[in-house]
Structure formats: structure tokens, C-alpha cells
């Protein structure tokens, strides 16, 4: 079989699967509801990120081909190869390395709202000259672990595993780089020192 043929077959398969899978996700909600707290109400929507197979969080549409992904998912791809996972069109490496601004997200903000308890706090990680807020899903996961007194947890972000150490208050990427960053918990939303969310520059109170 010709490779191109396989690829194009897969392409059309993927399209069919995409349509189907959004239905599946709905029907399997009952079975696995424990793992899907944050996402299931939204997966009823037909839009699904082809990388995490969930409703896109901080969705971004690629300029050239108009394919839509979570910002964090496409960033993960972009850190490895700067091509669209669906059509292999070239994509700007800036997505991963320079970050984007809020305005570049689809529908302005597109943030997935995770229901916050009144006792919940905001979580940040250290960036160059300031702090990044964790994306809403990861933030609430860390807060949950924090409140139940765990010392450590693992989170999976743009294709890398990170260990969050709640005793040392730092995150560490679990690969050869072992890059460590400080993390921070704040009862209220940080204002002036916050760069944005997870590599997406805030446009509200930044000078950028």
C-alpha cells in the first residue's frame, strides 16, 4: 500500500472517528464519571481537540489550516515538531517558544471554567519576570491535592510529565532536563505580577 494512500485513508478515518467519538464520550460518561469531572458537560459539544480528545481548553485555531487544538496540546506538539498534527501544514514555532496572547485564542478567551469552591485558591508557576497561572484544569487538580494533604502529584502538560512537590512548592519536569520552577498558591487572583495563563499572555493589565 502506498504511504500516501495510508495517510489519506487515515485522514478520512480520523474525520469519521472524530464525529463518532464525541458521541461516544457522552455515552461513556456514566462509566468513567470519576475521571471526567471537569470536562463532561462540555464534551456534549461537538468540538474536540484531536490531541487530548477532550473539549478544547484555551482553544487556538492555526492560521494556515484552521485546525483547532487546545493551546497546551498544540504547544506540546510544537515543542517537538512544528507541523499541524492533522494536515502537517507548517505551524509557527512561536506558539511554543514565545507564547501567544489572549486575543489569539478562539472566541476571545475560551477558558474552560472549572467550578471553584469558595475555599479554592489560585496556583502559579514561576516564569521569566513574573508568574504564570496554571491552566484551569491543572490548577484545580493541584488545589485538590493540596486540600487533601498530599505531598506530591503528577500532572501531564503539553506532552511532558511534571511532578508538583507541594512540600517544596516546586514543579519539576520529569525528563532529562529536570527543570525546576517555583510554584505559588494565592488565595486571591494575582494581579500585577501575573503574566497570564500557561503561556498565554494576559492582555488586560500587561503592558504588552
Amino acid at each position: 500500500m502506498e504511504n500516501d494512500e495510508i495517510v489519506s485513508k487515515l485522514g478520512s478515518l480520523l474525520e469519521n472517528l472524530d464525529i463518532k467519538s464525541s458521541v461516544d464520550v457522552k455515552s461513556s460518561v456514566d462509566i468513567k464519571s470519576s475521571v471526567d469531572e471537569a470536562t463532561d458537560s462540555e464534551t456534549a459539544n461537538s468540538l474536540e481537540c484531536p490531541i487530548c480528545l477532550q473539549y478544547p481548553n484555551y482553544p487556538i485555531e492555526l492560521d494556515n489550516c484552521k485546525h483547532v487544538f487546545c493551546f497546551l496540546c498544540i504547544k506540546g506538539v510544537c515543542l517537538r515538531i512544528s507541523r499541524c498534527p492533522i494536515c502537517r501544514a507548517e505551524i509557527p514555532r512561536d506558539i511554543a517558544f514565545a507564547g501567544i496572547t489572549e486575543n489569539q485564542l478562539l472566541n476571545g478567551t475560551g477558558t474552560k471554567e472549572v467550578s471553584k469552591q469558595s475555599t479554592d485558591a489560585y496556583w502559579y508557576y514561576e516564569g521569566y519576570r513574573g508568574w504564570w497561572e496554571y491552566d484551569s484544569v491543572t490548577g484545580s487538580k493541584i488545589e485538590q491535592a493540596f486540600q487533601s494533604g498530599e505531598h506530591k502529584l503528577n500532572v501531564y502538560l503539553f506532552g511532558y510529565n511534571y511532578t508538583i512537590n507541594l512540600d517544596k512548592m516546586q514543579q519539576c519536569r520529569e525528563d532529562s532536563t529536570n527543570r525546576v520552577r517555583k510554584i505559588l498558591r494565592n488565595e486571591v487572583q494575582m494581579d500585577s505580577d501575573k503574566k497570564g495563563v500557561a503561556g498565554i499572555f494576559s492582555t488586560k493589565n500587561s503592558d504588552k
Partner: protein, 151 residues
């Protein structure tokens, strides 16, 4: 460990179990959610017909950024599969994209059984034999299926 398994893997697994690929049985190991036991039925009208081919599939740490690792356990006479069961499929190597899934990979493997490609071989001797005398190669493949691929 908290949050060890990415949700995508859970989703894919759920779906593979609730809506299996026709002709393929894939289920995760009881002790390792990243390791799948796979049985592929040889497609109809191929020398692999009525064979049941055991495979193993493993999802590495950074899946889906890197492709699943996949191997035939059952011996198979096929120009694109070597003696160790390794498969020559570019979607499992440089053509991998994270938009592909376990399901699409398994479908591709099924496709490879239906359409052996001796021009892009991994098992060089098999490919050479296949090109030199296709009828004979197909007979051998059929024989191997009868001998080895019966679960």
C-alpha cells in the same frame, strides 16, 4: 500515583472496549494500563485469513507525542514484518502525529495484512521471496498462518 494516566489514554481505552475495531481485540493489561494485549484476526481473502495474530502494544510515557510501540508476537510471514515481529510502518515512526490513535494504528496494521508491500520491506528475505515468486510466498504465508497463528 495521582494523575498518572493522561485522560486521553482512558478515553481511548474506554472506546476500544466499548466499540472494538472489527476483527481486532485490544485490551489493557490488568497491571499496566499502558500495555495492551492485542489479537488481530487475519483479514478475509488474504493468506492470513482465519489466523489469530497476537500482538503487544505499549504506550510510552510521552504518548501521544510519540507513537505507540507495537510488535507481533505470533510468527508471521510478511514482507513488512521481521522475525522479531517489528512492523515497517512509517506512521509508527517519522509519519506519526498525535492526532493518530491506538485505533487508527490498529486499522493500519490490518491494512498492512491486507496489502503486503514488498517494495518497502523490513523483512528483506521475505520481501525478496515475495517479489521473486508471489504465488509461492503467499502459499508460505498461508502455511505459517495455519501453523503459528492459531490461538
Amino acid at each position: 500515583m495521582a494523575g498518572g494516566l493522561p485522560k486521553r489514554i482512558l478515553r481511548e481505552t474506554e472506546k476500544l472496549l466499548s466499540e472494538p475495531v472489527p476483527g481486532i481485540d485490544a485490551r489493557p493489561d490488568e497491571n499496566n494500563a499502558r500495555y495492551f494485549h492485542v489479537i488481530v484476526n487475519g483479514p478475509k481473502d488474504t493468506p492470513f485469513e482465519s489466523g489469530k495474530f497476537k500482538m503487544e502494544l505499549f504506550l510510552p510515557e510521552d504518548y501521544p507525542m510519540t507513537p505507540p510501540k507495537l510488535r507481533f508476537i505470533t510468527k508471521i510471514y510478511h514482507p513488512n514484518i521481521d522475525q522479531l515481529g517489528r512492523i515497517c510502518l512509517d506512521t509508527l515512526k517519522d509519519k506519526w502525529t498525535p492526532a493518530l490513535t491506538i485505533r487508527t494504528v490498529l486499522l493500519t496494521v490490518q491494512g498492512l495484512l491486507s496489502a503486503p508491500n514488498p517494495d518497502d520491506p523490513l523483512a528483506n528475505d521475505v520481501a525478496a521471496a515475495w517479489k521473486a515468486n508471489e504465488t509461492k510466498a503467499i502459499a508460505t504465508a498461508r502455511q505459517w498462518t495455519r501453523i503459528y497463528a492459531q490461538v
